[in-house]
């Protein structure tokens, strides 16, 4: 077999693609994953980071709810270092219909979701930031999950099982013979090289962009691009996920994650052409703050760090203009059966929570085509970082670093943080002080995790995700990247891109402390550093 021949090619480096590659690789297939940008740049990295219990879907979409709770329990086992077990509350406010609670609890229990009605006073004790005017509360097994970490861990495991990954590589066309897809043509945006890769099966795991890839292959999928806007607050206001106990609507979920919390989302249909350039409007910001403050009034006086938006990869079913009534269900299409196109599978719909199940379905389809008979093991095999002994025990072995740095590193890397136990004082020096990311961790990410630029580094290590949003650490990291890649000119440009990417999330919320920080950044970068 030639170096550009594989058993399966997976297009898309989001969580679905990464999960599918892991599953395929674990079943012994030679895999290649192709991503036009960096990992987790689409909907994977642009959501709440909510470990759904499924309760949100229980009333309207029993199938999604059941999938969610099953996967929820699986992720707690296989991705322990990506998951925080916080629990969640569904609260009823005076303006909501308390009768809905009955239906909600019954539907949850039917779907297998532990849903426990609790006294409003007990809810306030569990989560002191919750709106004190609540008249009802239900406790469910929600949690939070770090989608960047989860995506990187899946890809890392795929590589440990022999998988290959091409980032910043775009599929420009398919190599077809008659009614069969034989491979893909690619263009690498960094090296500007064109390439050809062959495999008997290609999986389209491109989220909303899957529509374009399918078109390129000669088949049609009607997608429904639904934009969702979210805000990150600079403090972890709540420790328990807070939802509204009513029919799903705008800005009714508040999720704690690491040192911050996230409110969202909105849902607006957008033209397909806008998927690459979604931005958050002032109206969306105002709505998110107003509705969010109803869940936790403290949000009114909490600094906002960043606004961002993602596009849900929903598959159109009817003419619903909001997209909320479309099933979040998984769509796995074997285009041979559906369109008579051989060697091509699309896996789409679904959500972050069900990525593993989607990957299993896609891999089952791949294996059927290749007549491979291996069972899926992803539901029981821990991801790298979540093995035994637990990462909490590993934290204790990193003696050299201060406790906070130990905790931060093991939180991010799980058991893999053990490699930092021999770090010297040079490697222990901090690059990012908000998230406590050390020189050693940055260098390890550059060496092992396919990092091309500062924004990639941010997704891998959380560097620059904290309160100052990479004010000064971006420069320190740029120095390390310049050294690793041996190119200063590229890093100087990279720093400009990083600042622009940061500003994109800042200007929609550009007032108060955010504007103060922005003025400081302008001053430092333009007049002091000369970027």
């Amino acid at each position: 077999m030639k170096p550009n021949e594989f058993d399966v090619i997976i297009i898309g480096g989001g969580i679905t693609g990464a999960g599918t590659q892991r599953d395929c690789a674990m079943r012994g297939l030679r895999t290649l994953l192709i991503e036009r940008s960096d990992i987790a740049t689409g909907a994977t990295g642009r959501n709440h980071g909510l470990l759904h219990s499924g309760a949100r879907y229980a009333v309207n979409d029993a199938e999604s709810a059941e999938e969610c709770i099953r996967e929820n329990m699986i992720l707690r086992r296989i991705a322990a270092h990506c998951v925080e077990e916080t629990d969640g509350l569904f609260i009823t406010l005076p303006e909501d219909d308390l009768a809905y609670q009955e239906t909600f609890i019954a539907s949850c229990l039917k779907a297998g979701i532990r849903a426990e009605r609790i006294d409003p006073a007990e809810a306030r004790r569990l989560e002191p930031s919750v709106n004190p005017e609540l008249i009802g509360a239900v406790k469910v097994p929600d949690g939070s999950v770090d989608p960047f970490r989860l995506c990187a861990a899946n890809m890392l495991d795929a590589k440990l099982h022999g998988g290959q990954v091409l980032l910043y590589t775009e599929v420009t066309g398919f190599i077809k013979e008659g009614d069969t897809i034989k491979g893909v043509r690619t263009y690498n945006h960094q090296t500007h090289e064109e390439g050809e890769y062959y495999a008997p099966v290609t999986v389209n795991a491109c989220g909303i962009w899957g529509q374009k890839i399918a078109e390129m292959a000669g088949v049609k999928i009607g997608m429904f691009p639904a934009k969702g806007a979210l805000l990150i607050f600079a403090h972890r206001v709540n420790n328990v996920v807070i939802n509204r106990c009513r029919k799903p609507a705008n800005a009714d979920i508040l999720v704690p994650g690491d040192t911050v919390c996230v409110i969202g989302t909105t849902s607006t249909r957008i033209p397909f052409e806008e998927c690459d350039t979604v931005h958050v409007t002032p109206d969306e910001v105002d709505l998110l703050i107003t509705e969010g403050a109803k869940l936790a009034p403290a949000l009114n006086s909490t600094r906002i760090l960043r606004a961002y938006a993602g596009v849900r990869p929903l598959v159109s079913a009817d003419n619903d203009p909001s997209g909320r009534n479309i099933s979040r269900g998984i769509v796995c299409l074997d285009h041979e059966e559906r369109d008579g196109l051989k060697g091509f599978i699309t896996i789409t719909g679904g959500k972050l929570m069900t990525y593993r199940l989607m990957a299993e379905m896609a891999t089952d389809a791949v294996c059927r085509k290749l007549s491979v008979n291996r069972q899926c093991e992803t539901a029981t095999t821990p991801l790298p970082g979540s093995e035994k002994p637990s990462y909490k025990e590993v934290a204790d072995t990193i003696w050299a670093a201060p406790t906070t740095v130990q905790k931060a590193a093991t939180g991010r890397l799980g058991t893999r943080a053990a490699r930092f136990k021999d770090n010297d004082r040079y490697d222990s020096a901090l690059v990012c002080e908000c998230e406590e990311v050390s020189v050693g961790e940055i260098n390890a990410a550059i060496e092992r995790l396919d990092v091309s630029n500062l924004t990639d580094l941010r997704r891998r290590t959380r560097m620059g995700m904290g309160t100052c949003q990479g004010e000064l650490c971006a420069c320190r990291a740029a120095g390390l990247l310049a050294k690793a890649h041996g190119c200063v000119e590229r890093e100087r440009e990279d720093l400009k891109d990083f600042l622009n990417e940061r500003w994109k999330g800042n200007f929609p919320i550009g007032w108060g402390d955010t504007l103060r920080e922005a003025e400081y950044t302008q001053w430092v970068y333009k007049h002091v550093l000369g970027v």
């Binding site: 000064l472 420069c475 740029a478 120095g479 007032w511 302008q522």
Partner: protein
Amino acid sequence: MKLDTVIIGGGLAGLTAGISLQKAGKKTAIISAGQNALHFFSGSFESMQEAPERAIDLFEEAGIRLHYREGARLMPMGTFRPAVLSLEDVSIFPEGQLPRRALVINFTGYHDFFSSFIAEGLEKAGASCRIRFIRIDEMEHLRLSPSEMRSVHIARVMDKVWEKVVQEVRILLKDEDTVILPQVFGLKDASVPGKIRANIPAKVVFVGTLPPSVPGVRTQQLLRRRYELLGGTYLMGDEVLSATLDGDRVTGLTTRNLQGHPITADHFILATGGYFSKGLESNPEHVWEPLFGLDVEALEDRNDWYERDFAKDQPYLRFGVKTDPELRALKDGKPLRNLYVAGSILGATREDMGIGGGLALRSALAVAETIAKD
């Protein structure tokens, strides 16, 4: 407390105005809430349309030598920017006089000084460069904590052991005409950069680090000392809570530390800075001046406050307090007779006076002159 003039804000504008007025025989006080933009001072003024002799003299008397020389200065990221008036530390390269061979020195494990960027910038400009890392035993203790290797901490050590750096450099120096060092010298002892220059047989160029800026912190300290030696009262860590007005005059200020003892004066100077220093505040609806509720020149629609490209000039940075030709603050369209405005709280409303440090100097000198004549 009865004073001639009370200055709100202890940054470059406030200190310049305070020193000028004390020299003119006025009794003044400066109310300073804390650190200010001098801590991020690059060491050069970029927008000086003319050589302000008075500013040079004022700094000189405080022990800070400014030199007026047009040319390019080497920035921390290896780029060159124009400069007009600079601190002694800052080397200005007149056109056509860039280094040919440079030795770039950094401390091992110091990530706030960008030696590779500087070397690349110099090489692009035609120089050949060597980068060398040095270790000084006396600063090794900084590594015990993962966030102590920062400019000011190093500078504190260097005030005492700068001679060791000179020794190391002399060992490393071959045929280079220029030595590049991080700006971590002369925090308390302003003579250190000059002594280093005198002891190294090549042109020594100090290039900035990540903030805080060591020459900036030193400038702040020397200006403050000068102001206090002239008899000025510097109220550090105090904050104005409210002001009382009588018609078109400000009559007094209440501060956090002196509650119950309003500070009165004939004149007041508002030098509270831009957004960062809270001279201007903002919410989703508008931008305002929080102490006196002065008229602010700003765009109404929040959508117009920003350029999407971060590198472009941002409209919000042009917003500022409105003034009459004498720099008296406007409130409801009319000037307050004894409230003057200086520094970056003016935004770009007085473009004739430049921006940033240049604006601070010129507006402060202008305001002090008007008040001294009164």
